[in-house]
Symmetry: C3
Subunit: 266 residues, 3 copies
């Protein structure tokens, strides 16, 4: 294993579990916390404006997801993002279905002003965020990840962020370097909030290796892809896939991860 391979970062995460603050949506909260626990991280769902900022000073990374946004929560998101920036901690933005309503578009614009370290979305979200025309419907992506690749590069350069466009094939770039990660399973889009959970895992890996958020993002996407592949082998449908995925995440170790990883420069 290389020192910054996905496997070594997973091993490092397990050796010193990072506390990750997640401001996520009501649908994702339980499964995202279980995904972080299975991976070995320590999740905390803390969003109230009264404490979001103070907690961001304690946590090693922050993730913000606008899935079930309301005006009250926006305050907690802004103060947490500010606090993470002040403390030099990485934070990840998940712009769920930001193209669907004015409220979401404005919320994402305001959050982008806080300069997220990493942006993670599905193809439709990344294309629309870069100003393109997408075919997203509600919260499900209908655009192939391949088409999102140029959008991701544009977005990364415009915002000085790492951008991950995930789907059947994952693509991640900092505007210069870029990687494609293969794996996963056809069951993944049929389990709600797995993408949101991946955003939280991206935060956990960024906490482990804040030096290079592109490298840490590759690790997070690879962990998801390999665990998804392993879980799918015995799953009969989305119900059995969901719990097998948590078992597979928990059973994954660093050397196995590196052996199964399918990453290539793009």
């Amino acid at each position: 294993m290389q020192q910054t391979s996905p496997g070594s970062l997973l091993t490092a995460l397990r050796a010193d579990p990072p506390l990750v603050q997640n401001i996520t949506n009501f649908v994702a909260m339980n499964i995202a916390a279980n995904v972080l626990l299975a991976a070995g991280a320590s999740p905390a769902m803390v969003h109230a404006e009264e404490e979001a900022s103070e907690f961001a000073g304690i946590a090693r990374a922050l993730t913000i997801n606008i899935g079930t946004l309301s005006a009250g929560w926006m305050k907690g998101m802004h103060s947490a993002a500010d606090a993470a920036n002040r403390a030099g901690k990485p934070w990840v933005l998940d712009p769920v279905a930001h193209y669907a309503t004015n409220f979401r578009r404005q919320a994402v614009d305001a959050l982008l002003a806080h300069r997220p370290t990493i942006i993670r979305g599905n193809a439709s979200e990344i294309i629309a965020l870069a100003g393109g025309t997408n075919r997203g419907q509600g919260v499900d992506s209908r655009d192939p990840v391949e088409q999102a690749q140029s959008s991701a590069r544009i977005l990364a350069k415009a915002h000085g962020a790492v951008v991950a466009a995930t789907g059947e094939i994952d693509f991640v770039t900092d505007g210069e370097r870029a990687f494609v990660i293969e794996g996963g399973s056809r069951f993944m889009p049929a389990v709600t909030a797995l993408g949101c959970s991946l955003t939280c895992l991206v935060g956990a890996l960024a906490a482990v290796f804040p030096t290079d958020p592109l490298v840490s993002s590759v690790a997070a996407l690879t962990i998801f892809a390999v665990a998804g592949e392993n879980a799918a082998r015995q799953a009969d449908g989305p119900g059995s896939f969901a719990w097998r995925f948590l078992d597979a995440l928990s059973a994954l170790d660093g050397p196995t991860l590196d052996r199964q990883a399918r990453i290539r420069a793009a």
Copy 2:
């Protein structure tokens, strides 16, 4: 398969997955989204007053559930119901435990004024909504569905809505025509929020066949009943039933559904 049989409506749903907006409770959000995904629909949990109305213009159906109601959410419910009505889209009301507190009773009265297309509740909820004396305790029904049948007919006529009273045996009526659907499993009331999830599926089928919400409701109840029966065959308890139910929903196809359906006019 007849053109409006449950099986053909399920096939139509899969061919063109409807986007369904659900304003539901915190307990139900995750399982309801997973139920819709397993059935083949595209769920969106959008409730904030800032966007609920705009989103109702995009979605093909709306469902409203008062399970964990608060004053702030009432605003989103009202503007979404208004927007669905203006756009001529079906909407479904789930009056969870509406008899338990004044706050709930008033909320349901106010929502009924928006003339829901379909009302789905358990026997206790339907009996109480029609003005009868029920034995409901908290959110669990303690009244047999049989007793709810005359209440459902009264309610349907009073509100010009389709009314579904579900439980061991399901009953659905538009005040004139009525059907009984058999199936399901004794494990279903032991899994929280399955009734709430059924409400969302009723919305999805109403989106697929808005012409006749009685027919689309029969389809939704039949899908649930057959998937429940199939899942129960291998389940050892409520925990294993829950994920097997999602697998069974996902594995169900139109012809199998029609073959297993137990529907009779009442």
Copy 3:
């Protein structure tokens, strides 16, 4: 079985399922409701300030958990605790990560003024609540339950409450009498919100046997410990443990519980 053994209390709960009002966090809501249903109780997640107090008059016990607290919810918590006290019904406090932020510390202080019948926390929470120095990080405990035992005794005397410090080994005391309960599984801390769910079960057993909340708490902890042990036998990871735990809870009967119970006076 003794009349107040865990097994007889479980049998009594099944014979007359108590309605339990839970003001809990967004992560816990679904799994906590499923845990109560599997045990045989009737859960209701009712927290809005508009109805929390009225509902506390209907329910047989109340549980309050500050996991995803916000200012609006505090009002519902206070009025519900007041109503439970006025009606002479037991209520349980779960001070999730109360040491993490000022907002939480103040919230817990204010709730303690309502004199909870029972306080349930992990070792870090109980140590910090008694004024000690803990090693908690976010919401996960890093202190052994053994160290929490003297803190629990201090806390119980100071607040006239039963205090349960749970973890690998559970400890529960009313300040005079004390018991240790063994069992459970290493998978339990890897499933999010199982501790929060246990708090709700403590409430359910307090409803069944309000005369002696120490005895009812011992029963709740023993039910969890034995079901956890039984579920772990076939689990391969946290994902498969979670649903097997619900099956095991549901399959447990009074005599089996008493046979497997490992309780000793401390």
